[in-house]
Symmetry: C2
Subunit: 211 residues, 2 copies
DNA sequence: GTCTATAATTTGATAGAC
DNA sequence: GTCTATCAAATTATAGAC
């Protein structure tokens, strides 16, 4: 299918070089079709970019277990919620390791730094959903936390995973590794999970102090 | 000075749109000079880009207290080291808030995701230095940690600060704020500092368990 | 050193054959 | 639906006046 080929290449190319960094000719050539196909199927360069954003949101596909995790949050069991949080983070970290993720990670990062209409379409998908579930889970795990405090905590957790992608080049340098091996990522995941445990404990202690 | 004006605008423009997203004409026009000045002073577009990278490294300027913090690491006082870590993180978070930071944050992020020769020049500066000092401080604060473990921890700490810039659009959405006010950032800084405390305590406990 | 003028390419869009 | 041909605009680089 020409349309799908165009989309896949668009995500890769737009992610790597941004909207203005790639020519429609290059994308079309890489997809083995004529440039005018883009005009025909997507109305033009901009249309292809927005379509690529929606495809990214779809490909991210949320953490597959998202539905399950929402159930855990609803149940209100602190221990289960804590496990679910760790699971989300682990899954996210793993997903960021997948080579395919490079394409849309770059795409998303670009939109984060300089949002266009495309960001709305991405956030509307699993990305936004997962964030909200994470906040719920933190509330449950810490026993009825103030909503805004839970959000701030969620961000601090998310950052620990994000950094492996967003500051990848720096991580490689600091760890003195040419490539970030699966073993190394496992070690890091263990660190993050331990951190989460420590942070949640601290939040519970903070809450008890305030009473 | 035409050269300095060109550099400032280059950082801003290249950061926002990437190497291929800006024309030398635009940069020259914004700097109130002719496009050919770029060829004359920097040999071409690429030369200007590399020069901009070096200027970014210079402007980041490291955390001003870097020298002091190295002393703390050398002294080997765990409590002082812990305070120094918190101070670095606070300073970094504050720096990321400064509007001027937008220009080079975008520039760096772009290089992280897709490193070119420019990244080497940036990392060689205060960025790499600060990372190494942070690792040292963690070793001291936790009492002679295994080096690689300290590096992983340093990354997890750094991520908590980075996220406010790298996933800024998402943070705004999740926190339901149009703009991230100074108060909100202060709240977040408090969260991060508390997290650091909890994480370092946990690392010390882990170490004692292993013995 | 800074400018103008111009050359050589490249780009996004469109018209029209099939 | 997919292609070729072509356009008008924009881009980098360079030559040369001052």
């Amino acid at each position: 299918m020409v349309q799908q080929r165009l989309l896949d290449i668009a995500i890769e190319q737009f992610g790597q070089h941004g909207l203005e960094g790639v020519s429609t000719r290059e994308i079309a050539a890489a997809a083995n079709t004529a440039m005018s196909s883009i005009t025909y199927h997507y109305g033009g360069k901009e249309g292809l970019y927005l379509a690529a954003a929606e495809e990214v949101a779809k490909q991210m596909g949320g953490l597959d277990q998202l539905a399950d995790l929402e159930c855990v949050a609803a149940e209100g069991d602190p221990v289960a919620a804590r496990g679910a949080i760790a699971e989300i983070m682990r899954a996210f970290l793993k997903r960021l390791q997948h080579p395919q993720s490079n394409a849309w990670a770059l795409f998303i990062m670009r939109e984060q730094l300089n949002p266009t209409a495309a960001f709305e379409r991405i956030y509307a998908g699993p990305m936004g959903q997962t964030g909200k579930v994470l906040v719920e889970l933190i509330c449950v795990a810490t026993g009825g936390q103030d909503r805004q405090a839970a959000r701030l905590a969620a961000i601090s957790l998310f950052g620990q995973v994000l950094v492996m992608k967003a500051a990848r080049a720096m991580c490689r340098k600091l760890l003195e590794r040419e490539r970030l091996s699966a073993d190394l990522i496992d070690d890091y995941a263990a660190r993050v999970v331990a951190n989460i445990d420590a942070i949640l404990d601290r939040m519970i202690a903070e809450r008890q102090e305030r009473q």
